[in-house]
Symmetry: D2
Subunit: 357 residues, 4 copies
């Protein structure tokens, strides 16, 4: 923290600021300049709220110098964190492809989608069972039934599953099924949920809030990590701006900066990031090229009939194109597409599945 005094600040004002610094348990360091005095503050762990000083007489401004986050900062793990998920991993130089429907809607829908994306190289299956929706009248997900269908798809394909957890009430239930918990953009600052997840030993993917600054996002991750759960993955999914031609504005420019700021793996979601199916594959290529640890996309056997997010879902052929193109770009930057260590079960459909199909 650097406190900049007004040019005309009096000796008494400067002294009072130094006293206040001491009162708070820190050490003031007076640094006289030609036009004004600056006061450095040291002895703090973590950030100091500039609000403590801005209102004192004679203070021009108070500027935070040290970073407010501690455990998620790059310097804590310069190599970068690798999050282990059943049979695969996120981070460590490979590109993880997560794919699946926005919402789990039916057994056929989720199984056919899971098999399709698995056969093309996706290693993690996404699907929503508890859906936070803007309207109380919209489809809210199949709930536990949806989780069971996801588990069945995992069984059938060998892919671990990621699914959203929307509250602490359903956290134990969702955690029982999910390989990775997803915290949605609206819950990025649901601190009680973050703390509860922080107490689990389960990977979590934290989506950036719609209007969250990078600092706020990292502080949200710090909530989880500071409770002991180090398996946090960040997911950029677009921010809200004045531009309405796309559903959100995918902020790829932040990725290289984020890399320097944190050791956590980074995923990009071009489906929510654009909201337009035709834009998903180009942006998946772009996300790959900018350098991320994975991408997450929505795929649906029949997008026009999807119960949520139809306009942004890829058809099966579109996903095939995506995988082909993303693989080429990943290859060009020397990043292999991540594999499952468990053998894919896609070719051998189980009798159980056959019977119902």
């Amino acid at each position: 923290m650097l406190i900049l005094m007004e040019a005309e600040a009096t000796r008494a004002q400067i002294d009072r600021v130094c006293d206040r610094v001491r009162e708070l348990g820190y050490a003031p360091h007076e640094m006289p300049g030609a036009q004004r005095v600056a006061i450095g503050v040291t002895g703090n762990k973590g950030g100091i709220d500039p609000g403590h000083f801005k209102r004192l007489d004679g203070v021009h401004d108070a500027v935070a110098v040290s970073r407010p986050y501690k455990l998620v900062g790059r310097e804590v793990n310069p190599e970068g964190t690798i999050v282990e998920v059943a049979g695969t991993r996120i981070g460590g130089g490979e590109l993880t492809v997560m794919a699946g429907p926005c919402s789990v809607e039916s057994r056929d829908q989720v199984l056919s989608t899971a098999r399709h994306v698995r056969s093309l190289g996706a290693t993690i299956l996404r699907g929503g069972a508890f859906k936070p929706r803007t309207s109380p009248y919209d489809f809210q997900g199949l709930r536990e039934e949806g989780l069971e269908l996801l588990a069945e798809a995992r069984e059938a394909t060998g892919m671990p599953i990621i699914t959203e957890v929307k509250d602490t009430e359903t956290l134990p239930l969702v955690a029982r099924y999910a390989d990775i918990l997803q915290v949605g953009a609206r819950n990025m600052q649901n601190f009680t949920l973050l703390e509860a997840i922080g107490g689990l030993d389960k990977p979590v993917m934290l989506k950036r809030g719609m209007s969250a600054s990078v600092k706020e996002w990292l502080m949200a991750a710090e909530y989880i990590v500071s409770r002991g759960n180090l398996n946090v993955v960040l997911c950029e999914r677009g921010i809200r701006t004045f531009e309405t031609a796309t559903r959100n504005t995918l902020d790829l420019g932040i990725i290289p900066l984020l890399r320097g700021m944190t050791h956590l793996p980074i995923i990009v979601d071009p489906s929510h990031g654009t909201g337009v199916a035709a834009a998903v594959t180009p942006l998946a290529r772009a996300a790959t090229a900018v350098g991320v640890d994975g991408i997450m996309v929505e795929v649906h056997p029949e997008p026009a009939k999807a119960l949520s997010d139809g306009p942004q879902a890829l058809t099966f052929p579109m996903f095939e194109t995506l995988m082909a193109e993303v693989s080429k770009v990943a290859g060009a930057i020397g990043q292999p597409v991540a594999q499952l260590s468990t053998p894919s079960k896609t070719p051998s459909t189980s009798a159980h599945d056959e019977a119902r199909a």
Copy 2:
């Protein structure tokens, strides 16, 4: 819902769209135009997701026509809702002033502030006991002790209290103390919390999310009202924009539109809306002049020592100025400042308080 077909849409494509409308349980109404066909959709209750149609072949666009919210819409209660709170009311043509510290920090702080704001005409005491903070390392509130201090201040002054509830876990506890529950901007789309509050018979003030559109805000209110709790008050507290000179951009322009859209009372919070103490009184005047049901401001005996939001807290003399100026503006537009029906206890301080003072 109006579905606009492409100019070159074929007969078969139009038929398929009409079939899809029927499949969803609605009625299609073909409306041939000179250049293109439009298809009206009727028979729906509440909004239809345009996503159902946007991906069908031959569809140019799908435009929502009816409003997605039902119970909070102006037409449901054209007179406007009045929310009754112990001893006072919000709505109905009066201007309610809510004031108090950002966080409850100590007995002296909250009691002296409560007495001060009460003596100048505030009718509802604000104060945070559970504080959602961006950093896990920041002061998180006095929790139940804070609630008890608020209750003591209520006892001492006769003012009902409003305090933030941040999760379902602490909802029963907070609801036991609070006269009005406050849902903060970060929780505006915490649907589980909204639903839980919807099941109570307790007034609630719902703050607008930092980047929530008006429609999303009203849908969040709809979550509460649709569960049976009609005592919802909206609070505009500034939105996030590119401008960083103020903490947020207070969106007063939305107020007249909101009036036409909903019957719920509307409060404006110029403290969070600007983040700068010197701007709070001018914006409180402006909010009053634009026409609202109340204002909420932060007041602190010694802002420079506040544990949260010091830069935006009013000192006692600043609050006195605010009340004088806001009263004049309210008078100019013919809106009386709301009174407490219970006699103010401020003049007669209890022996209990005297002893400790």
Copy 3:
């Protein structure tokens, strides 16, 4: 400028930064702290580009301390500037009302509007003759004919006129007719135009750009003032945000801060600020209450037939309501509505006008 070195910066790196400061003609002041060294930079007039230092080895950040603008800063004229316009003035504690049509469309339209707004107390007539339009196919204004009609309305009513100048080409022509030049939001950083206006001795109202920070806006004013034209008035007209319910988001929160930053008079335009006629009067009241030197609104005899900005134009009766309400609010905050020193000609319509009416 304060340059913050990295905690691990070497002596050589610090020396190199100091050398660079001297190379640029400034003086470095080393200020050792407990964790890092800061280097104060003095000897500069106006702002220093932090870019000079941010890329040097060992530099953590470079923070501007002094304000980049000089002539428009509050301290240059703490009393506040009063801009004299033929027969009236902007600033100095009165509230100026500027009103008139968006575009000048016909003799009848502009004269009837001018007489109406004059009769109700407006002192400056607005009207666009050269219209910058988003589409090249939209109505671009009556050009010189429009200026002549404005001049005729001035003659008829005694009101000085404000009209937009959109380029240096038409500046001499527009300046011949206008009492106040208006620079639109799109031209706020048309520096060549600003410089040309800076060379004139003619009042100018500079609208804030759609996404201009306060600093950028003041720097744009500095372009004009630094060329010698001190008669600059600022106009807040709404900024672009994610919210689309209103055309723009009127940023009233910035007004009190702006007052502290600059001595220039400040006008608010609630017509562009909201884009919705029903919201204009409430926001005009709010702007008055927040404390400005004037408001500017669009009025049209028949908004549904307006060639531009119909949705936001006030009808004649709506403007009458606005004046009544704004006067009351202005009275409540002790600010009289500005008067014309020249006698109003409204009652005595000239024979010339009579003949055509």
Copy 4:
């Protein structure tokens, strides 16, 4: 245009709307629905201003259906426009690399940079001679001397040059030197400048305004094209959002949509788009992967000494890395990096240059 009537609109109101449509020279098409009547409007060329109808009694909303732009729309040239520049071309499936300093500062600086970027494959040299700067006290460019240095660099390397034109006053001068005129973000809606450029037969690159919607950007291009100059290239350079960690938010998500909307070539500028040198190469890779016709980056022999935009300039080695990586990504998506048809002069420096070096 579709006009949606209120559910309770009367017959007379509907008739009056239809009359108004006819008055404006269009044809109304009444389309009765179950809940409300819609009125289609046909017979228009180009867009109709919805403002004509929104204020009429009984009108709920007026929705534009046809696109407002005509000449820049994709359907006008489905193959995509190729802009021919001396010795090279933009569009047509190749990736053009434009590189050079932000500002031309000295003969050595521009020549060494030009030779460096040419030797690595850039085909167009960028450099600013007339610099629009936020502050009137900042370096404004070397003006004509800068143009001469650019011309000398063109002579030395064979690369055509792109340089910014900031006003109509200097347009003839700049056009005499430049192979491509650049219109900066601040001038995107400087319609007089656009019209003047529209009258020339010279390629122009139109940067997106800081807060311009895609539609506004395309309409700005329409200003140029509608005057006869078809050689327009669009350049996405980042938009202004709440996020301040990067200078702007590079909007790559818009690129695939833009492709569908317009036939004009598209360039991305990751230097301004991020404002951080370390982010430029990753975003250049991403822009290449998303599918554009070229990229433009700032390169400086010694960024720490740059007179403008130092923090975002690439050093020579950084640009070498960029070219290597971008080439690989371009290869992966099957897009060759554009070449100069004129032989590069880099290896054989002229005696003229040698003498001065």
